[in-house]
Every structure is written in C-alpha cells, then in structure tokens.
C-alpha cells in the first residue's frame, strides 16, 4: 500500500480523500492556490504545498507544477478528486511516464471515454444504444447548423471533454445556435482546457440514471447499482438518490450488466460511472462515462456499505476486488443534496462572500461531506459547491423526512445557498411520490422564491434582530473562544430609547 498520496484538488472532495487516506494509514498531502491558504483541506491535510495563483489554470490545472510537488513530497500516487485534472488523459499519461500512480483509469481508457465523441462511436460499434446525434466535432458552424436541422430542434450542445453540465446548452431554435455554441465552447475551454462541442437530439423529460462500476487491474468488474440523478438545474445535478424509483429488479440487472460491458469495451480500470438516459418507455441510452469519483458517490456508499475512495486507492495499489457481484446488496435508501453557493431566488447565480454563521446538521443517518467553516471567505475562482448533505433511511419515506429535517437544521448566513430551495424539492409532493424527471425544477419550482408567510415566525425573527442590535454595542469586548461576559446593555443604556422601564 502507498505511504503518501498527493491530492490534486480542493474543497469537500479533498477533505473526503484526506479522511480515507487517514483510515488506510496513508499520509495525505494536498496542494492549494494562493486564495486557498485558509481552506479546510489545507487545515486537515498532513502536508500542504502552495501550487500557484488563484486561477485554476495556474494552480489546480497546472500539470508541471503538480508533478513537481508530488516529487518533492515523495508521494507515490495522486488522487485527482473530481473536476480539474480528474479526467485529463494527458495528466494521467504524464503520471504514468513519471512513475507516479494516477488513482483513476489508465490514460488510454481515459482518452477514449473522455472524448465523448470517440466513446459514442465505440459504444455504438459494440451494440450499446446511444442518443441520436454527432459522432465527430463539426468542421465549421454550418456543420452544426446542418446537424441541428437534421435532428430537429431542440438540440443539446455538449462538451466533448465534458461533465458536470459545463459547456452544456439546450438550443430551442436556430437563431440561438451560434451564441450558444460560442458560450458553450468558452465554458468548455475554461473548465476542461478543450473547447470541442457536439450536438445531440434533446430527449425531453427523461430520467437520468447512472451505474457505479469498480474494475480492478486483474480483470474483475462489479457494478454497485444505480443512482437516480434527474433533479437538475442548469444541467447539473443537485439531488441524487438510490435506489431509483424507476427501475424494476430486471431492468436494474440489465442496465448494470450493460454498464459493466461499456467499461470492458473501453478497457477501463478503477472506479467509473456509466450514465444512461431513461425515456418514458423505459428505453435506456448510453450517455457517457464519468471517468472519476462522482460528486454523488456517497449515496452508493451508504446503501452498499462499500467505501468507494478506499476501493479506488486499493485498486490503484494493485489489489484485487475482495468481493464479487453476488456479495453486493442495496440496503435502505440514500439521498444527497448538493449545497451550492448560489442564489436559487435569482436563477442560481453564484454567490460569494464570507460565511458569517454556520450551523451544521447532525444525527443518526446524516452524513455531511463539507469543505467550509464559519468565517471562511468563499472564493470566486472555483466551482460553487460548498458541501454535500447525504442521508440514509430504512426506506425512501424516512430518507425524505430525514433530509427535510437535516436541511432545516442547516444554517449558513452571509451568502446565499441552495439549502432553502432543496428543502422545497424534497418536501414537494411530486418528489415524495418518486416522480423525478430532468424537467422537475423548471416544471414545479421555476418561480420559487425564498421566504416564509409565517407572520409569527417573522415576529420572532424581529425580536431576535432587536435583541442582537442592543447586545451588539461597539464598546462590548469579546474574548477569543467564548461569549463575552459583558455588562448588560439593558442596564448601561445607550442610543436606544427603552420602550418601557424595568
């Protein structure tokens, strides 16, 4: 087993990998950019190396610098997390050349599945159903224009190197095509360093169902069942769950076996996810391979009892899988909500700033993978994910109730977050009924606006503001680590006129 791993990422996923390393007796080194000196992953790591200035291209995407740090730290392996270099075949190849283990698939498989177009060609050839659309990048604008006409609007623009919804756009009519392509290409370049995009027929109101797969370096391969990821805003998942309410045991087995075949065809190893679209008639189409640890991996962990990061590390170290397909069972139900620094009342615009107050949910069946802390300034340079709240329950109903309660306990002040919006999602009758499609949010919660009509609750809030104001006098001294023992302002009086005497 490795003695030290370098984690080439930040935020909650870096923290997640640090904890896994610690549990396996491995030292965890991390990199950080200049704006991330105070970030949680730096605090919790065993070692932390400055990688460069804030912009990702000069830090978390800077391959030379990262390799140099891995050498200096004497790390035998690099865990890329998700995003940044996680699915970059050049980075994986460079690690291979340098004799550093890349904790992920081999670079050839990564190059194949990472190029969504090449993957589409390969899978179609292997008899796996794909969505109608382009199988190569268009030579010029007119190529896209023609293909769009052939498919019929609406069409979907996708980044060939894509994932996480970056670079993705739905185009409803021809006039929108050019600006959408340009914006998609710019976003793809910024996110992946590759501006290739292609068009697919847009399938309306599908369900997004993906299968988690583990493949060791010895030819053993298992799937760990599905994740239902249909609740999306801006083509990015915000709520995921497992099991999916849409699958029968028979369909689950068929899709699981197809997922394994996809990765076998690709010559894939380590952890990977095969995404499918499921249409209203329960036909499924291969969408793409996410050649990394997924953001939503915890729901699989909670229901199967398998720690996916441990498995990634063990597989990378050359170990054989210690279980086979028959050993794996789903138990209970798990749901994940993604907590983003975004304002759901204003079209999910990013929201940065200082976290003035933080109260985190706890209790049985509640897991929080978080990258934040009170007083932290959320930087504007990176993905706005703050944390993931994951709950497990004996059944879907209990899991929904638990998620609702946990979201209510979760308080972040100072920046806007998706918390109040997510509470609406999991309490929505359609969600509770298990009717989740990718159009859920635009159909049911498009006009959602934060706020409460409860006048009595507001009166309590008013009283709290007044109490706070009186007690927040500038001459009050606070001692580090404790609430100030201070003279009561009710006694000392001040610029506030007391409405009644004592």
């Amino acid at each position: 087993m490795f003695k030290k791993i370098l984690i080439a990422n930040r935020g909650e996923i870096a923290v997640r990998v640090i904890r896994a390393c610690r549990e396996l007796g491995i030292k965890a080194a991390v990199i950080y950019s200049e704006v991330d000196r105070g970030s949680l992953h730096v605090q919790l790591a065993d070692e932390a190396y400055l990688v460069g200035p804030a912009p990702a291209r000069e830090s978390y995407l800077h391959i030379d610098r990262i390799i140099e740090i891995a050498r200096k730290a004497e790390a035998e392996a690099i865990h890329p997390g998700y995003g940044f270099l996680a699915e970059n075949p050049d980075f994986a190849a460079r690690c291979e050349q340098e004799g550093i283990v890349f904790i992920g698939p081999n670079s050839r498989a990564l190059r194949l599945v990472g190029d969504k177009l090449m993957a589409r060609q390969t899978m179609e050839a292997a008899g796996i159903p794909i969505i109608p659309g382009m199988k190569a990048v268009g030579e010029d604008f007119s190529a896209y224009e023609e293909e769009a006409r052939r498919l019929g609007y609406p069409v979907m623009i996708k980044a060939s190197a894509g994932g996480g919804g970056k670079g993705m756009r739905i185009v409803y009519e021809e006039a929108e095509l050019r600006p959408a392509l340009e914006a998609g290409m710019r976003e793809a370049l910024s996110a992946f360093g590759d501006e290739s995009v292609y068009l697919e027929k847009y399938i309306e109101e599908p369900q997004h169902v993906e299968f988690q797969v583990l493949a060791d370096n010895h030819g053993n391969i298992v799937h760990l069942f599905e994740r239902e990821c249909s609740i999306q805003r801006r083509h990015q998942k915000i709520v995921e769950e497992t099991p999916s309410t849409a699958l029968t045991p028979e369909l689950r087995e068929r899709m699981g076996e197809t997922a394994k075949k996809v990765l076998r065809v690709a010559g894939y190893n380590n952890a990977g996810t095969v995404e499918f679209l499921l249409d209203k008639n329960k036909n499924f189409y291969f969408l793409e391979v996410n050649a990394r640890l997924q953001v939503e991996h915890p729901v699989t962990e909670l229901t199967t009892g398998v720690d996916l990061v441990h498995q990634q590390i063990k597989i990378a170290a050359g170990e054989k899988l210690s279980f086979n397909q028959e050993d794996l069972k789903q138990r209970g139900h798990a749901i994940e909500c993604r907590i983003y620094a975004e304002d759901p009342s204003r079209g999910f615009l990013p929201s940065s700033g200082k976290i003035l107050y933080l109260q985190e949910p706890k209790g049985p069946g509640v897991r929080l993978d978080s990258g934040i802390y009170a007083n932290w300034e959320v930087p504007i340079y990176y993905d706005p994910i703050l944390a993931k709240l994951i709950v497990w329950g004996e059944n879907r109903e209990i899991a929904c109730q638990r998620m609702k309660a946990a979201l209510q306990e979760y308080v972040i002040l100072g920046i806007a977050t998706t918390i109040p919006f997510l509470r609406e999602v999991v309490a929505h009758p359609e969600f509770l009924a298990g009717r989740t499609t990718t159009g859920f949010i635009s159909r049911h919660l498009a006009d959602w606006c934060e706020g409460s009509d409860d006048k009595n609750l507001r009166r309590i809030a008013q009283a709290a503001a007044a109490y706070f104001e009186v007690n927040r006098r500038p001459e009050i001294k606070w001692k580090a680590g404790e609430v100030a023992r201070r003279p009561s302002p009710w006694q000392t009086l001040g610029r506030w006129r007391l409405a009644g005497g004592e």
Partner: protein, 166 residues
Amino acid sequence: MEMKLRHGAEVLSFSLEKKEGKYIYRDEQGTMTLDIKEIAAGVLSILADEKSFLIAVTRDKDRFIVAVEGCRFEFQEASGMAAAGREETAARGIIAVKAPMPGKVVRVVVGEGEKVRKNQTLAIVEAMKMENELKAAVEGVVKKVNVAAGELVDSEKTLLELEATP
C-alpha cells in the same frame, strides 16, 4: 427599544423591552413574552410560551439576516431605506448595469456611445466557472464603460451606464 425594519415592501414597527428577566415584544398585532438566551455570539434560544426557537442572527452593513426554523429573513434598517431611496432618484434616466455577483469580466461586448437593443448582451461576467451574460433591460445608448476584460468586480460596482431611449 423601538425599532423599524423593512422586510421586502413592508415596514415593521415594534418594540422589545426587558422585564423581570424576560423580554416583552409589542407590535400592532399584540404582545408576546419571550424567554431569550444567547447561547453563543449571534445564536439565540427563544421560548415563546413553551414553543422553542433556535435562531441565528447577524448583520451585514444595514441588513439583519435572521435564520429561524430553516427560514431566512432579511430586514433592512429604516435609516438605510432612506439612503437607498435617494440614490435611486439621482440615477433616474440612467441605468447602472451591475454584476449580479462578484466575479471576473470575461468580455465587454459594447463600446461607449453604442446604441443597444433590449436584451442585447452588454458584457459577460464569470464566477465560479459559470458565465453570465448581462443584457440590456431596455433599448438605449451606452453612456459609459467602467471596466475591461479580466477585471475583478463585486456586485456593488457599476460596470456600464445605459441611457434609455425615451
């Protein structure tokens, strides 16, 4: 103390006073006796007749942000309201285009003096890897461009000024 807070369009007038270790809240709806305990800086446990509320409260400039039972209320101080009003009056006719969030200017699409249609893209601002296009709210003329590509901006800064075509 008496207090006036703005909540959305409403102005809320009320008072809070201390009496025998408890707090009396009064507004036109009536009176509540509250048992308030500050359990940490900005965190209050309030019992209102035996109902229990756990509340986090903080200030950001002239706003109070209060979280209670998973609901967030933002109140504005009455004095802050007046100032906001004045600013609005001064800018009549000229529309200040601000970034919707702090971020980096990717591109300024229009130049000073340029005529723009309604919904035309004026500039693109990127934050947290998402691009956001700022569009003209009305037909008009670009009076002033205050930023250039690559510049970091916060949500207070006026990026461009637009004069509406009457």
